[in-house]
Symmetry: C2
Amino acid sequence: MTITITAFERSPDGGKGLARDTRVRWALEEVGQPYEVRLVSFRAMKEPAHLRLHPFGQIPTYEEGDLVLFETGAIVFHLAQRHPGLLPDDANARARAITWMFAALNTVEPPILDLSNTRIAERDKPWSQERLPLVEDRIRQRLVQLSARLGDAGWLDGAFSAGDLMMVSVLLRLRPAGMLDEFPDLAAYVARGEARPAYQRAFAAQWAVNTAKSQAG
Amino acid sequence: MTITITAFERSPDGGKGLARDTRVRWALEEVGQPYEVRLVSFRAMKEPAHLRLHPFGQIPTYEEGDLVLFETGAIVFHLAQRHPGLLPDDANARARAITWMFAALNTVEPPILDLSNTRIAERDKPWSQERLPLVEDRIRQRLVQLSARLGDAGWLDGAFSAGDLMMVSVLLRLRPAGMLDEFPDLAAYVARGEARPAYQRAFAAQWAVNTAKSQAG
């Protein structure tokens, strides 16, 4: 069955790969599944047709026959369950890899989302500059802990897994703010993720969409 | 094998059930698995013995034989995979229930965490009062969307699932701020969750810990 995902018609990051469709493209490339992409405008994202697929009016969505999914974590997990390459076979190792997916999305990403809000959505608010160090310190606390756990290992728990895919994707969001450079071991971890051929293909695919659009626009 | 979870020796909410161990207790009760609880002080949470279980120094953790898990989402998912009661059998319905788990944790909870930060951690900051309406509006946007999707249904996708367990748990965090009352349909959804016997047992268990402590203290 054909897999169709949605992505921004014009990504807010202009093709840096930080939009969430890159996470799903990466997972699809890791498990070797072909997919089609339907581009969605900001206006269309809030219209009933898209809201039927994604109740929160975001991208990406995932369609495969009768199945409709939203939420990057759920889509990546679905792919990881169905196809080899993103989760270990051993039951305990599998549960631990899934743990890292949730840790990326519910422990590490929330303060990073707050940083994006502070730097972009609240840029013109009177508190923005004064509040920034506090938000950055919340992130640093998580990065210190993550770095301590990673230690000298290549990936978070044995072989590369969906947990690493998600954690690298979340950490990538720190690059525009320059915070990743404060943690050379985590920067190297992210670079290992980016060096994977599957990531390279995913990045190139989203880049092609966004550069085509900016030339057209 | 005995299941052991960790919980706050003294919960910051004094027993309102908002600490994350309640989510895991609820899941354990739904699937009918007995468990033991090890209470952890704030100091012990940051010490090496606990950090070996939970790299981010939080509760709950989950131990079952050789398996050690952290992250509420991962623990609830692990229980839901192993035991009947929290995920439907049909593969597509199962994927959709898992989607709601991720939606609760990565789309609905982050702005709610920001509200807690604004109301508590940043209470004495000069921007706190001025920033509050903006944070609340971000939450309202999600609640409007969630309410639209829920419609007249009892649960988010067919029968009660781990997705509802997580969404109800996340929405409960809005009660102290009074925001849940703005959305009577979501307040009723949360009340349906709280009315489940498994939730009642989970709540009572965490309450017993916290009231015992406050009498002792």
